[in-house]
Amino acid sequence: MDILSRPGRPTLILAIALTLAAIAYISWKVTESPDQALQFTINGLNVGAVYALLALGFTLVYSTVWFFDLYYGAAAAIGAYAVFYLRAGQATDTAYDPANIGLNIALGLVVAGVVAWALHTAFFERLRERYAALLVRAAYLLVAVVAGGYTMILLQYPDNLHQTAAPLIALISAAVIGTVLYWTLSRFAPGSATPSQWVAILSVAAGLVVGAVAAIALAQAPESRLYISWLVSCLLAGVVSLALYRGLYAFILIRARSTLIMLVATLGVLLTITAILVMTFSNTTHPLPASFGNNLLTLGGATFKAFALFAIGCAIVGFILLWLLIHKSPLGKIIRAIGDDEQVARIVGINTTAIVAIVFFIGAMYAAFAGILTGQDIAIQPRMGLELLLKGWIASVVGGIGNLYGAILGGFLLGVVEQFGIWDIPGEWQDGVALVLLILFLSFWPRGIIPRR
């Protein structure tokens, strides 16, 4: 029953009047100084790209589990800090050597646990029919230990990241190319209704070859280390998120009587991780090592870094990938089914815990990447987790929570509005102005621009 979200007539008139006033203000400003307007728009799209990425992941997780996961902000911070952790030697303040064996071991254990869980969930039932249960368990524990050890090596020797990461890159390429090939071949292969084993083997083999070539190429290019660290950071944030869901949230969810419980519990996680980041990396601001795109471009009267274009491109690509995943892939179908009704999904035999865990993994990857973009563009500091969380949360609520189109729209809109909001006001008021506008907006449209159904 949505009695509350039905605005009365006076509210509606007020809302329309305010919107018209805002449009009038902006158009007046634009005619007064088009160059400035263009500059603000581009700046807004630049930060908006980060917000859009955050909102995409946030909304994906929210529309699957229907509670707000505040760890999400920590995922963004973990992403950015992991890049710093791996590449501090390359950063400008080189006096800092963060290598921390305890942290590496902890992360290695987390990765091992997640790998063991993933293998168990995916293969145990199938393999047990053919082999002894003990053998199967031993096999995937072995793989898990190898994965954990490998993670530790990756983190312990960041200077050789381009070499140590080669197997990881080969594996990921193989997985991605294999999946895409398999999907394409099985869909367009002439005459075969069901894809054969050979198609699968062929795709994986092709993927492995490409992956190996890519890995060898990267191993000879030390400047690739920064970009490899981006990948590793995203994966790490995703793995931590997955581990938190499977190892903690799943247990709280069983007992939770309201979504506020999950909100408070994830708030606890956010507090803890933020404090750990401060203890490990100190409370100060760090720059990340310089990446590409620092050259300035001009468009009309506006000047911006080329990196801005990259960020906007990333948001759009991120949106397309997520859209394909949700609306075109079999996994997306299951995710939507869980979002509609988790209990029904469980009854029809879907392993909802596993699927939701994957959703958490993907969501955290988006957050981590948004964190990295922010870090590369500006700098990193421990409170960025909370700040980015709020931006992503706001963007997704403004756009209409649980809705991919709303998320990307809300992200870019929030970025642009933040910029235009401070045209006549000093820049340090930006957060305040943006939030006042948010509260005004939500009082008239509590369900966002594009409400979900």
């Binding site: 029953m1 009695i3 509350l4 509670f67 707000f68 903690l248 247990f251 709280i252 007992r255 939770a256 009587r257 309201s258 979504t259 506020l260 419980i261 999950m262 909100l263 408070v264 519990a265 708030l267 606890g268 996680v269 956010l270 507090l271 803890t272 991780i273 933020t274 404090a275 750990i276 401060v278 203890m279 409170r383 909370l386 709020l390 949360w393 706001i394 609520v397 000093p426 340090e428 008021w429 957060d431 305040g432 939030l435 006042v436 948010l438 509260i439 939500l442 009082s443 509590p446």
Partner: protein, 349 residues
């Protein structure tokens, strides 16, 4: 005799289970005992001066926690913006009473009122009430998750104002030389006297809160928390009740803020960051939702935790706050897992 011995030995062997069982069922009593013992230990070991500081800080946090519990525990509004009112109270008191003998920074002249503290206090409290009224009307349309989001927003807006409204708040430099309260020409300079004053205010706040929650009004608040649509059908305008308790709670927080300002004789925006507000929510939930005693307990545990963490060996002093934050965060998660009403609570989230 033989049998009796057997019984005793059996009971003895089951002691761990029995203890664990009683711990689970009487968590409230155990927590109270532990917290009060810890407080006593600290006070005895560290001397009177320390005890006075500790209790004063506790009293200020307790005022905040009790006031937030009215909103969060009794009315079920998860507000993370309470620190905003705390800050408004502190800044109003600071601006009105501050009387710097010389400007600390050249060329930055702010208005000097130099009011006595007890003239500034009602203004601070009333201003909090007025701001809360406006904010409350704006927030009356939100529920649950979105309410949390906009209350985050309020905390950030308030912080933004404290930092940037420089000709009133002096921004990041803060306001210095806030005088101690004066009663009938007598200045409360002594720490012990100040403590008594703070405790008196705490007692007033606890008393008012107790009167509120045991009145018919308090009962309606709980009903609003449980089912807002249902209580409306029985003739209560729930939005008015929510607004009323929101304003009362904000005024209490403002009082706590004013006490903080005169206690530390210095305010700056760092006391009112969003994180403080989150910690406050953690204290209230930890102590117990919908329980005034729980909020007192939570505030005391929070203050003791900071002191306790200082004793951890090999811990650099700058990490004390972080370790406390980690402990609080972990406790929040554990509570949500095992005891969603908090230690002494009467309301499960």
């Amino acid at each position: 005799m033989q049998i009796r011995q057997l019984e005793i030995s059996q009971n003895f062997s089951r002691l761990p289970q029995t203890l664990l069982f009683s711990l689970r069922n009487h968590l409230e009593i155990w927590a109270t005992v532990i917290v009060i013992l810890a407080a006593a230990t600290f006070m005895l070991s560290r001397g009177t001066g320390f005890s006075i500081t500790l209790v004063t800080v506790f009293a200020i946090w307790a005022m905040l926690a009790v006031s937030l519990n009215l909103v969060l525990g009794y009315t079920g509004l998860l507000s993370v913006g309470h620190v905003g009112f705390y800050g408004i109270g502190a800044y109003t008191a600071a601006v009105l009473t501050a009387n710097p003998r010389q400007e600390l920074l050249e060329g930055e002249i702010i208005q000097i009122f130099a009011w006595p503290f007890f003239a500034a206090l009602p203004v601070a409290v009333l201003l909090c009430g007025v701001v809360a009224l406006i904010v409350g009307v704006a927030f009356s349309r939100f529920r649950d998750d979105v309410y949390v989001l906009v209350s985050f927003g309020f905390a950030i807006i308030a912080y933004n104002v404290f930092v940037n409204w420089q000709w009133v708040t002096r921004g990041p430099f803060g306001i210095h030389q806030i005088p101690k309260p004066v009663i009938f020409g007598y200045t409360i300079n002594d720490d012990l006297e100040f403590l008594l004053l703070t405790l008196a205010f705490l007692a007033i706040i606890v008393g008012i809160s107790w009167l509120i929650v045991t009145s018919s009004f308090g009962r309606v608040l709980k009903a609003v928390r449980e089912d807002e649509d249902a209580i409306e059908v029985f003739g209560y305008r729930s939005s008015r009740y929510k607004l009323a308790i929101w304003v009362i709670s904000a005024m209490m927080a403002g009082l706590a803020g004013a006490m903080l300002a005169t206690y530390t004789s210095f305010v700056d925006p760092n006391s009112f960051i969003l994180l403080e507000s989150i910690l406050l929510v953690a204290i209230v939930i930890l102590g117990g939702l919908a329980s005034i005693w729980g909020s007192l307990l939570g505030a005391l545990a929070f203050v003791l935790l900071e002191e306790g963490v200082r004793f951890v060996p090999f811990l650099p002093p700058e990490h004390v706050g972080q370790v406390r934050q980690i402990i609080l965060g972990t406790l929040l998660v554990l509570l949500m897992l095992f005891r969603p009403q908090g230690v002494a609570g009467r309301f499960k989230l």
